[in-house]
C-alpha cells in the first residue's frame, strides 16, 4: 500500500450533509480515519450509519461538504470515481455476489477488468484469498449454492482482491443466521489485526469491543459520540448512547 502523506488521515469527511428529500439524513458530519484504524459505527436504525458508510465510496452522493480518501477528494462521476472506488473495498449486508458467475469469477472480475491483471495471475491470487477466508473448496460453485456465511466471506475476498486502502462493511452480518455470524466476524477480526483500515457498521457489540480502535455512535443523522470501545461501553458520555446501550445490552 502506498502512503502518499503519512500524516494525513486516510479517510476524511468534513462538514458532510445529505438529504433524502425533506429528510436530513447526515448532519454536519466530521470524521477522520487513520491508516490501520478500525472504526465501528453503531446507532439505532435510521440514524444514518449505513448512509454514512455508503457516502465514503459515493454509492450515495452528498449535497454538502467534502470527502477525501488518501488526500484525494472524491470525484463526481466517471473514470476518476471508478478508479477511486477500486481502492475502497465494500462489503454489503446482502452480499451482492454476481449471481451469474462462479465464486472464482466473482473474485477475479475486478482484478482482470480494472487492474488489468492476467487471468492466471488473478486466479492464483483469488484462490489464495478464498483459502484465507475458508471457502477455497467452493471456488467453482455459483453463489446460490453457498450458505450466507460462505457468500459473505466470498464477498470479503472479492473486495480484498483489489488490494483496497480501506474496507467498508455495511452491516455485514445482519442478513445471516446466528450460527454463521461468527465465521464472518472471525475473518473480519483477523483483517483488523493484520492492519487493514476498516469502517464497520454493525450491531455486533462483541466485535466492536474486540476489534475496534474507536466506536462512533450516531443518532438522527449526527455523530453523537466518538470514543475508544472500553470508554464507550463502560462510561458513555451522552444520554442517547446510555439509552441505546441499555436497550441492547440487557438481553
Amino acid at each position: 500500500m502506498t502512503s502518499r502523506s503519512a500524516g494525513e488521515p486516510l479517510v476524511r469527511l468534513s462538514g458532510v450533509n445529505k438529504w433524502f428529500g425533506e429528510l436530513h439524513v447526515l448532519q454536519d458530519i466530521d470524521l477522520s480515519i487513520d491508516r490501520g484504524e478500525v472504526v465501528v459505527v453503531i446507532g439505532p436504525s435510521g440514524s444514518g450509519k449505513s448512509t454514512l458508510c455508503r457516502t465514503i465510496n459515493r454509492l450515495e452522493p452528498i449535497q454538502q461538504g467534502e470527502i477525501a480518501i488518501d488526500g484525494e477528494r472524491l470525484p463526481e462521476e466517471g473514470k476518476q470515481l471508478a478508479r477511486l472506488r477500486a481502492d475502497v473495498g465494500m462489503v454489503f449486508q446482502s452480499f451482492n455476489l454476481f449471481a451469474h458467475k462462479t465464486v472464482l469469477e466473482n473474485v477475479t472480475l475486478g482484478p482482470v477488468k480494472v487492474r488489468r491483471q492476467s487471468k492466471g495471475e488473478a486466479e492464483r491470487r483469488a484462490r489464495e484469498l478464498l483459502d484465507r477466508v475458508g471457502v477455497g473448496a467452493q471456488a467453482e460453485k455459483v453463489p446460490a449454492q453457498l450458505s450466507g456465511g460462505q457468500q459473505q466471506r466470498v464477498a470479503i475476498a472479492r473486495a480484498l482482491a483489489m488490494d483496497p486502502k480501506v474496507m467498508l462493511f455495511d452491516e455485514p452480518t445482519s442478513a445471516l443466521d446466528p450460527e454463521m455470524i461468527n465465521e464472518v466476524l472471525d475473518v473480519m477480526t483477523t483483517l483488523a489485526r493484520d492492519g487493514m483500515t476498516m469502517v464497520v457498521v454493525t450491531h455486533e457489540m462483541g466485535f466492536a469491543r474486540r476489534a475496534a480502535n474507536r466506536v462512533v455512535f450516531m443518532d438522527a443523522g449526527r455523530i453523537v459520540e466518538s470514543a475508544d470501545p472500553e470508554t464507550f461501553f463502560t462510561r458513555p458520555a451522552s444520554d442517547r448512547a446510555k439509552d441505546f446501550l441499555s436497550k441492547i445490552l440487557t438481553h
Partner: protein, 216 residues
C-alpha cells in the same frame, strides 16, 4: 392448394426475401435497442432524455407512418438508397423502441445491489452493464424480447407492402390480383411461409430461455 404448388418458385423467392428483411432487421433492432436502453439507464441526464424521446417517438408512431417517412421522406432530403434499405431501416427504428423497453425491464429486474457491487470494485458504467447487469438482465428478458422479435417478423410483411416487393406478402398479392388466383389458398400459403420462420424461432427462444435460466 394448386395456387401454391404451381407457383412454388415465387413462394421460395418470396420466402427468402422476407427472411433477409427479417435477419437484417433482427440484428439492427437488437443492437440499436440495447444502445437506447443503455442510454435510458445511464447516469447522464441528456442521454436519458434522448432515450426517452426515441422510445416515445417510435413506439407511438404507427409502423406504416415510420416506413412512409423512411421510403418517401428521406429521398426528399437527399438520401438515396434502395427500397429494401429504407424498409429495413424503418422496421429497425420502429422495433428498436420495443426492444429497448424489453431490455430495460430486464435491467430493472436485476437488483440494484448487483450494480452497486460492480461499481464498488471499480468497474465503470459500461463495464458494470456489460459484465454484470446485462448478462443477468437478458435472462429475464428472453420471453418479452421473444414476443417483440416475433411481432417484428410479422411486421416485415408491412415492409414488403412499402415497395420492397418480392417478399412473401407481395408474392401473395401478385398471385391474387395480377394472376387471378383465389385469395384463400394463396394467403394460406403466405401464412405457412411466415410460420416456417416464426415457429422455429419460437422453439429456439424456448431453448435459449431454458439455457440461460440460473439459480438465484
Amino acid at each position: 392448394m394448386d395456387a401454391v404448388t404451381e407457383n412454388l418458385d415465387d413462394y421460395v423467392s418470396g420466402f427468402l426475401t422476407s427472411l433477409s428483411i427479417i435477419l437484417w432487421s433482427l440484428v439492427g433492432s437488437l443492437v440499436l435497442g440495447m444502445l437506447i436502453a443503455a442510454c435510458r439507464v445511464s447516469p447522464v441526464p441528456p442521454l436519458q432524455r434522448f432515450g426517452a424521446f426515441w422510445v416515445t417517438t417510435f413506439r407511438n408512431t404507427p409502423l406504416s407512418v415510420v416506413l412512409f417517412f423512411c421510403a418517401f421522406g428521406l429521398p426528399e432530403l437527399g438520401v438515396i438508397r434502395s427500397f429494401f434499405f429504407f424498409g429495413v431501416l424503418g422496421l429497425v427504428l420502429y422495433t428498436s423502441a420495443f426492444v429497448c423497453e424489453a431490455v430495460r425491464s430486464g435491467i430493472n429486474s436485476v437488483s440494484a445491489g448487483q450494480a452497486e457491487a460492480a461499481r464498488s470494485i471499480g468497474l465503470n458504467f459500461t463495464q458494470s452493464l456489460r459484465f454484470v447487469v446485462l448478462p443477468q438482465a437478458l435472462r429475464t428478458v428472453v420471453p418479452p424480447l421473444g414476443s417483440v422479435i416475433i411481432a417484428m417478423f410479422k411486421n416485415s410483411a408491412v415492409v414488403g407492402a412499402f415497395g420492397v416487393g418480392g417478399d412473401l406478402w407481395s408474392t401473395g398479392l401478385t398471385l391474387t390480383s395480377a394472376r387471378g388466383y383465389e385469395t384463400l389458398p394463396v394467403f394460406i400459403g403466405v401464412a405457412l411461409g411466415f410460420l416456417l420462420i416464426t415457429l422455429p424461432a419460437g422453439a429456439l427462444l424456448h431453448v435459449i430461455e431454458r439455457k440461460v435460466a440460473i439459480a438465484r
